[in-house]
């Protein structure tokens, strides 16, 4: 079963009402032959007769509006434009369970003849009120109030003002509806006859309620309203289904009216209202050990008076009773009272203390009715026309806290409506309420419904993911690259040539060639000449001073000093290296030995060449050599001889210092006497400034 929240139904119902009300200018049409064509004469007669039948019921001492309505509606089919008939239909509806339907007819009555009855406007206001057309209801109540004479106003003004207040309360309630489900208890409980006054046991498995249906005990109808006498019915729940209700018969029910007004939490005690005498009293009935209902007993005088006692509820421990009475001395006509029970024996005899009015927190100058104490014994549910009702009786709830009743709280719309909302019973957990109502989709007349209170709307929760970016998830686009550098272009010299025998010019392959950066004092490249051709090639930065050396087996090492000038473009230098065999008398210029100017001090750039010489002497331990110094012709001969001799000695000292035996070394200074080039040019003079060694023996 899937019943949508009740408020939706109300709204749809109201919408339908508005759709079908045509407020066009129309004329009041009496039920008079002058207003109808002759061919409708017979039908007119029938209609007039229906009105008369309806009027009998309408004007009965105790009006029977339901039945009157049927006659009136038939007559209205014939002539829908009679103000008085529309007024009566509207008023009848207001007295039935289908109150909202009154609006259409009352509005039409007003259009046809606003003065058809003095109280038309009041009933119209009430219909607006019941239809939750609250603003227009207030205006119409005000309009009615304005139409009253001063005497009428003093008599009815307070009531009208209260109705207006109720409209304002209703506005608040409707704006903040409580969430409920409403379920019809089904065909096991409900029939086309009226069912009302439901009471549920604690575990919601047994329901007792009142119905006036044809299975009533004795099978008779009440002459007053032509309805079957009321009886108490019991239904039990099986799974989710309420099984067919049974009439427990006598002695719980009688041939007269028997109405349930309360059930004990265990479902074994019933409180029954019987209205035949003493102004209407409350009886108690219980199930004996055999499971049979005993004869109801009128509750004693502490409860029942000659006034009207109409509703009662046990406390959960069965030691107290809450009941409603309109006896004098209360705050209003009907108030709620409380009495304690002193139980003697097996409840065969009950003594009650004097009833106490529950006080001004609960009771009001208006009527309270339909009292129900929850199974925990501390929450009182009741209906009241006072407090902040939105119209008629509303259901309220008050808790007993620290010896006091809390301010009653309206259970809210749509549990409550501007109509009478009364005789509710509640489940143990307060989640379910049972009550009766009319619904066009029900089984007929009033049915029993269960309300499921859902409580405040449960808020669905979003998965919080706003995706607030604080640190970019995209890759960093910051330019972390350091910038370009200026390329020092083209300062390259390609040196190529061949390594050959100095005498035969035969290529010498596989000869190790080493290149030293004389400024840095370290070898920067080493390689071997081509094994077949003796060729080599190397690229070198320009603008530096290089020492080349090559040495093959059985050959003396060969060294070249190559000073490559700076250049802005690539250049190529061809330089062959001619190696001399080791033989006595052979001379080699040590081209990479450098001295400080005009001194005998070796420059550090000479180290590589001297180390090569050292290595050769170590490789050929029998070798004896002469180191000789030579100069150009600048300066005196003596000076030059002395300088060249000093430089030759410095070389010899270096070699001795590196472990070469002194007897393998001799030195001489030749000064300018053995030039190998001209002294007329700087280039020639440079070649003459040299250090040589000569093989003395091997």
């Amino acid at each position: 079963m899937n019943i949508k929240p009740f408020q939706k139904k109300i709204l749809l119902f109201l919408l339908n009402i508005f759709i079908i009300v045509p407020l066009t200018a129309q004329e009041n049409t009496p039920f008079d032959k002058d207003f109808f064509p002759p061919e409708k004469k017979d039908a007119l007669k029938v209609a007039i007769k229906q009105i008369k039948e309806g009027d009998k019921l309408y004007e009965n001492k105790i009006p029977i509006y339901d039945l009157a309505l049927e006659y009136y509606l038939d007559a209205n089919e014939f002539n829908p434009d009679n103000a008085l008939l529309n007024y009566k239909i509207g008023k009848c509806y207001l007295k039935t369970v289908q109150k909202p339907k009154s609006l259409k007819y009352l509005e039409k009555a007003r259009v046809l003849n606003p003065k058809v009855k003095p109280d038309l406007i009041y009933f119209l206001a009430r219909s607006y009120h019941l239809n939750l057309l609250l603003e227009v209801a207030i205006e119409t109540y005000e309009e009615y109030k304005g139409s009253l004479t001063p005497n009428e106003l003093s008599e009815r003004g307070d009531d009208i003002d209260k109705k207006i207040d109720e409209c304002y309360v209703a506005m608040q309630m409707v704006a903040n509806p409580v969430r409920i489900f409403i379920d019809n208890l089904g065909k096991g409980v409900n029939t086309k006859y009226p069912e009302y006054g439901p009471y549920i046991n604690a575990d919601e498995t047994v329901i007792m309620y009142t119905s006036s249906r044809e299975s009533t005990t004795g099978g008779k109808k009440d002459d007053m309203d032509l309805q079957f006498f009321e009886d108490i019915y019991i239904s039990k729940k099986s799974g989710d289904i309420w099984r067919d209700a049974s009439n427990p018969g006598k002695p719980l029910n009688t041939d007269s009216h028997d109405a349930i007004v309360g059930v004990s939490p265990d479902g074994k005690h019933a409180l029954i209202y019987k209205g035949e005498d003493n102004g209407g009293d409350i009886f108690e009935c219980r199930i004996d050990e055999e499971g049979k209902w005993r004869k109801p007993r009128r509750l004693p005088k502490e409860i029942n008076t000659k006034y009207h006692e109409s509703s009662a509820s046990f406390s959960p421990d069965m030691e107290a009773l809450y009941f409603v009475s309109d006896k004098p001395g209360g705050f209003g006509r009907k108030d709620i009272y409380y009495t304690s029970l002193r139980i003697k024996g097996n409840r065969e005899k009950l003594d009650y203390e004097d009833a106490v009015n529950l006080g001004a927190v609960i009771n009001t100058p208006y009527d309270e009715q339909g009292v129900f104490m929850d199974v925990e014994g501390n929450i009182l549910y009741f209906s009241s026309k006072g407090h902040n009702t939105m119209g008629g009786y509303d259901v309220f709830k008050s808790s007993y806290v620290n010896g006091r009743w809390t301010k009653p709280r309206n259970l809210g719309y749509p549990i409550n409506t501007p109509d009478d909302d009364i005789f509710f019973s509640f489940s143990r957990d307060g989640r379910h309420a049972y009550y009766s109502s009319f619904d066009p989709d029900g089984y007929g007349n009033r049915d029993i419904y269960m309300i499921t209170l859902l409580g405040p709307e449960k808020e669905v929760v979003f998965m919080e993911d706003y995706h607030y970016l604080a640190f970019k998830t995209v890759l960093i686009q910051e330019n972390l690259m350091l910038g370009k550098v200026e390329v020092k272009e083209s300062q390259i010299t390609i040196v190529r040539g061949r390594v050959m025998d100095a005498v035969t010019l035969e290529p010498l392959g596989g000869v190790p060639v080493e290149i030293y950066d004389n400024a840095l004092g370290r070898m920067i490249s080493s390689f071997e000449s081509n094994t077949r051709t003796g060729e080599y090639m190397v690229s070198l930065p320009s603008g530096r001073n290089y020492g080349f050396s090559a040495r093959a087996k059985d050959y003396m090492f060969h060294s070249e000093n190559l000073i490559i000038p700076p250049t802005t473009s690539v250049q190529e230098i061809y330089m062959d290296m001619l190696l001399h065999k080791v033989k006595v008398g052979s001379k080699i210029v040590l081209k990479n030995i450098f001295f400080d100017f005009d001194k005998t001090t070796l420059r550090t750039t000479s180290t590589a060449e001297l180390d090569r010489l050292t290595k050769m002497l170590n490789d050929i331990p029998t070798l004896k050599i002469e180191i000789s110094g030579h100069t150009d012709n600048v300066g005196s001969d003596a000076y030059n001889k002395n300088l060249s001799k000093g430089r030759a000695k410095t070389v010899v000292d270096y070699l001795i210092d590196r472990g070469i035996a002194a007897d393998r070394l001799t030195y001489k200074g030749y000064g300018e006497s053995q030039p190998i080039g001209t002294n007329d040019t700087e280039e020639g003079r440079q070649s003459n400034r040299r250090t040589e060694f000569k093989v003395l023996s091997k």
């Binding site: 899937n2 957990d429 808020e459 979003f462 995706h467 972390l480 390609i494 051709t533 690229s539 690539v570």
Partner: protein, 360 residues
């Protein structure tokens, strides 16, 4: 000794490189070159280094990296090359490789930019405290380095030091007035500090400075939802999805804004858009379930929640939501079971709802 000049320098240089490679491999080589000249190495390194920058700027990171590898192979003391190699590796998400390169660069030469780069790498490696140290060092060397403040702010943000983050972002903005993403990120830090108005202002400025910054529009919309301006949020989020139609977060957020203004159908459309863009985006699926619930499509809502929970059974709030829809279809047992689960997973509201469950 003959000397001749070759004019096409670059060609010759490259030829030399090739030649050297060839001659070094065979016994018949003209000459064996065991160490090229310093100058040639320098030149070769510089050419490759510069070429790498060009590759990088064109987005050809792999080529850039190869060029830098050639650079470093011939000039191992080229600090800038290591810096750039680290950068390229960072872009290629080889964070450990990047870290090694930045470390080498810093060993060779101290540089603000290199510290900064290493800081970013450390952030990527989640070494946030070390990253902050690098940004500190960056700022010692270059105090007006706005980006260093910005990313230090980011590291502080990730460490939960939101006040420090705000401070850093503010410094970055002071140094660079049009620093849109710094405004954006300060907005997020302010949000963490629950300073919603400040956050809103920051996101607004970010979106103003950079109208393409879709995530700033998205965040601005999100804050506006929190501030109760759902209508305003819808406008901003619409801008976000217009700039970036694939940005499913913005669709999701706009869906939430539409939900707030009770345009539940519109909300469902947006959540569905988000899911079309990213079918595994479970937040949008849950939220769509919420919108369906509001439209009383309880069964549809439950289907969405089911799908979310199938993917992630530990989402307490989704159990809570599903329970609410189950209650509306009168499946009270199912609802109570879901709320029980939600309560177990620490959703406080579930305990309150369980009060309705009686003995369940």
């Amino acid at each position: 000794m003959n000397i001749k000049t070759i004019k096409n320098t670059l060609s010759v240089t490259l030829l030399l490189v090739c030649y050297t490679t060839v001659v070094g491999q065979g016994a018949e080589a003209v000459a064996t070159r065991t160490a090229d000249s310093i100058q040639v190495d320098d030149q070769l390194a510089e050419i490759n280094y510069n070429k790498a920058i060009d590759y990088y700027s064109e987005g050809h990171f792999d080529s850039a990296l190869r060029a830098l590898n050639r650079t470093i192979s011939v000039k191992s003391d080229f600090a800038e090359a290591f810096n750039n190699s680290g950068t390229v590796k960072y872009m290629l998400q080889d964070y450990l490789g990047a870290l090694v390169d930045f470390n080498t660069a810093l060993n060779l030469r101290s540089s603000a930019k290199t510290y900064f780069g290493r800081g970013l790498v450390r952030m990527a490696l989640d070494s946030l405290t070390e990253a902050i140290t690098d940004f500190d060092q960056t700022l010692v060397l270059e105090p007006n380095y706005a980006e260093a403040y910005y990313y230090r702010g980011g590291a502080n943000y990730l460490l939960g030091e939101y006040q420090l983050a705000v401070h850093d972002y503010t410094r970055a903005i002071t140094l660079k007035n049009d620093y849109a993403i710094a405004y954006n990120d300060r907005g997020s830090a302010n949000l963490k500090l629950n300073k919603l108005e400040n956050a809103k202002s920051d996101y607004y400025n970010a979106s103003l400075l950079d109208p393409t910054l879709y995530y700033a529009f998205n965040s601005l919309g999100g804050v506006k939802i929190s501030l109760g301006d759902a209508e305003g949020a819808i406008a901003d989020l619409t801008a976000a999805v217009k700039i970036n139609p694939d940005y499913y977060f913005a669709f999701n957020n706009r869906g939430k804004a539409k939900f707030v203004v009770e345009d539940f159908k519109g909300a469902i459309e947006d959540f569905t858009n988000a899911l079309d863009l990213n079918p595994s985006y479970m937040a949008a699926l849950n939220n769509r379930g919420n919108a369906k619930y509001k439209l009383e499509d309880y069964h549809g809502a439950i289907l969405d929640y089911n799908e979310v929970l199938k993917n992630n059974p530990s989402l307490g709030q989704v159990y809570l939501n599903r329970g609410i829809s189950k209650e509306m279809i009168r499946d009270e047992d199912g609802a109570c079971n879901d709320w029980n689960k939600a309560a177990e997973l620490g959703v406080p509201a579930a305990n309150e709802y369980l009060n309705n469950c009686g003995d369940n």
